[in-house]
Subunit: 342 residues, 2 copies
DNA sequence: ATATAGTGGGACGTAATATAACCCACCACT
DNA sequence: AGTGGTGGGTTATATTACGTCCCACTATAT
């Protein structure tokens, strides 16, 4: 039997793509407000005219407001976005995709965000929004949150805000001093903490330690303190990297690169490298959270998107903790689904 | 707070008239199938091109099928029509209109069908469909149904079909031999009975009897039998006429016409004439069901539509039995609502 | 058997609309 | 004070929608 929305879609087939595109526009305005026509058109890979036509209608409907500084989403607009999210995701097959991944990888929850991470600038923002929402909706007093680096994890920052929970502590999941300060764990924990009026602990350490230096560090007070935090972490927020990409970004030694290639490393997460079968084949020699500690954590939020990371995801999720909440984009999810069915 | 359909409508305001017109087309095809583009266009007062565009889409969606003899509604199409009826009526404000009349006239149920009885040929069919549905859904074994004449009542015929109830008897609510055989009570009861595999009783009598003839008739066996039926009628299906119209159609005597005008007759139902206050001011002198017998009937179905009958409706419903189910068209309902608010 | 009214599909010139690419005055930052 | 981004306006052009016929066919009624 047909449901009413199905019947409606049957009678008005052209409604579906229209709704989807208009929803996307309104959603993007909400995320990037205030924003102008041209910037919006660039961001969504649409023509200025198309944007103009749709925004005119949205403005007429009172979902959008045009100010001197650009277009902003009205309160009504936000309500509409919230109300229709489930419907749009359902129609786009995103819910089904999510369920598929959820079952296959045996994860707690999977959220698939519409669009292509590589094509659309707003996807990263969407990922962050969903992830932040997931995190905040389950946060509790005295929570200890381990956070890794990376663009995906960084995307949460703008959506974190103080909740009625207190005494949350963000800790950098790994020590490190890198080039891209903006994306580093140490930077992120301080940003996150600031957004949420919470505490944070950083760990500034060289990325690659010699065996002696490593052993020496283990007894340092600041390190033992961090280890204690790692042991009591209630939540881990992390990204998933493709092995090559990560190794290059960390400008690993030629020796390390050789080892990684030799051992068939495909994915990386919290300093561990996994091969295609999900086995740990290497670990960055630095202070950081242990995989076992991640496994014991009550909640794990994994954020990763983009087609280029599909292989890495397929590898890592062979061993990922079951309590993981995974947030990704449509393109990656579809690619995963395809590789599973073939 | 906004509901999902409301939010949808907010985001896609142009969807509403489109849905409405497309629904109307599909509905009309169902009622008049097989039907061609041009006939359909004439019937709906639309251009052929518009009909063509919409039917092309409907055909593509598998809701319609084009045969040599014309377009027909597929099974899927009928399902879609059923599923969306409530939604379309709701959006058109028909449900609200119906509730308004229901409350004001204190009736059991009011159904308002979209469109203008005078403009659109399909409205009569729609009225009949709804009325027939109401009747059949409440029919029971051994039911005695009194039926009057008129186009509105006749419209039920094509939608009546055998149900799992037995021993239904249709009886002509009034005796009569008129010109328009197709619309006469005697003709209708036989048609209704044939459609439903039921019994029927007719009463062929002159319309206007002299006092002596009337008194003589009362003792006739066929008349007394009918009287007994009237007394046990469980259901009355009738139309509502405007007084002038009816009097003319029945080519009443100049004397009667004078009396009617003098007494301010506005509406007519089962041979009774009512003035604007709903008081009985006249009665056709012929054998027929008594108003008191109608009042005692378990169910009363009144069918009447068209702007020209609004005054009559306003008059009759001042005294209509509370168990009446009233089926009318949008234009009439709106006119009534307006006259109530002013 | 034949006439006729009605059918779906096709075609075409025209009218209406959408489109892309600008310009402009203005504002908020830097 | 400069500069990049903003919404609004405009215009020639491309595209689509539209109304209106024509055609071959068929089912029904005469």
């Amino acid at each position: 039997m047909l449901s009413v929305p199905e019947a409606q879609q049957r009678l008005l087939p052209e409604m579906y793509p229209l709704l989807q595109s208009r929803y996307r526009i309104l959603q993007t305005v909400q995320l990037m407000q205030p924003i102008g026509r041209r910037t919006l058109a660039d961001s969504l890979k649409m023509t200025e005219r198309e944007i103009r036509k749709e925004t005119d209608i949205l403005r007429e409907q009172g979902l959008l407001d045009s100010q001197k500084s650009g277009m902003v989403c009205t309160d009504d607009g936000e309500v509409v976005i919230d109300k229709l999210r489930a419907l749009v995701y359902e129609w786009s097959g995103l819910t089904q995709l999510a369920k598929l991944l959820e079952n296959h990888f045996d994860l707690q929850h999977v959220i698939v965000v519409p669009g292509d991470y590589n094509e659309d600038d707003t996807i990263l923002t969407l990922l962050g929004k969903e992830a932040a929402q997931q995190f905040m909706s389950t946060s509790f007093d005295g929570q200890i949150v381990a956070v890794t680096g990376g663009k995906s994890v960084a995307s949460l920052a703008q959506f974190l805000h103080p909740t009625d929970t207190h005494n949350i502590t963000f800790v950098a999941a790994r020590g490190g001093i890198g080039h891209e300060m903006q994306m580093q764990a140490n930077t992120l924990v301080s940003t996150f903490a600031m957004q949420m009026d919470a505490q944070y602990r950083t760990l500034f350490l060289p990325e690659h330690l010699s065996e002696q230096a490593y052993q020496a560090m283990l007894t340092e007070p600041m390190v033992t303190e961090m280890m204690k935090y790692y042991d009591h972490a209630n939540c881990v927020i992390h990204g998933i990297g493709s092995a090559e990409e990560m190794a290059v970004r960390r400008n690993s030694s030629p020796e390390d690169l050789r080892i990684l290639e030799e051992k068939g490393a495909v994915s990386e997460a919290f300093g561990y490298y996994f091969n295609a079968e999900g086995e740990i084949v290497h670990r960055i020699r630095t202070i950081g959270i242990q995989f076992e500690q991640v496994r014991r954590s009550k909640q794990v939020i994994a954020v990763a998107a983009g087609k280029q990371k599909v292989k890495a995801m397929l590898s890592y999720f062979k061993v990922a903790p079951k309590q993981t909440i995974f947030i990704t984009d449509e393109v990656a999810a579809k690619a995963i689904a395809e590789s599973l069915s073939s």
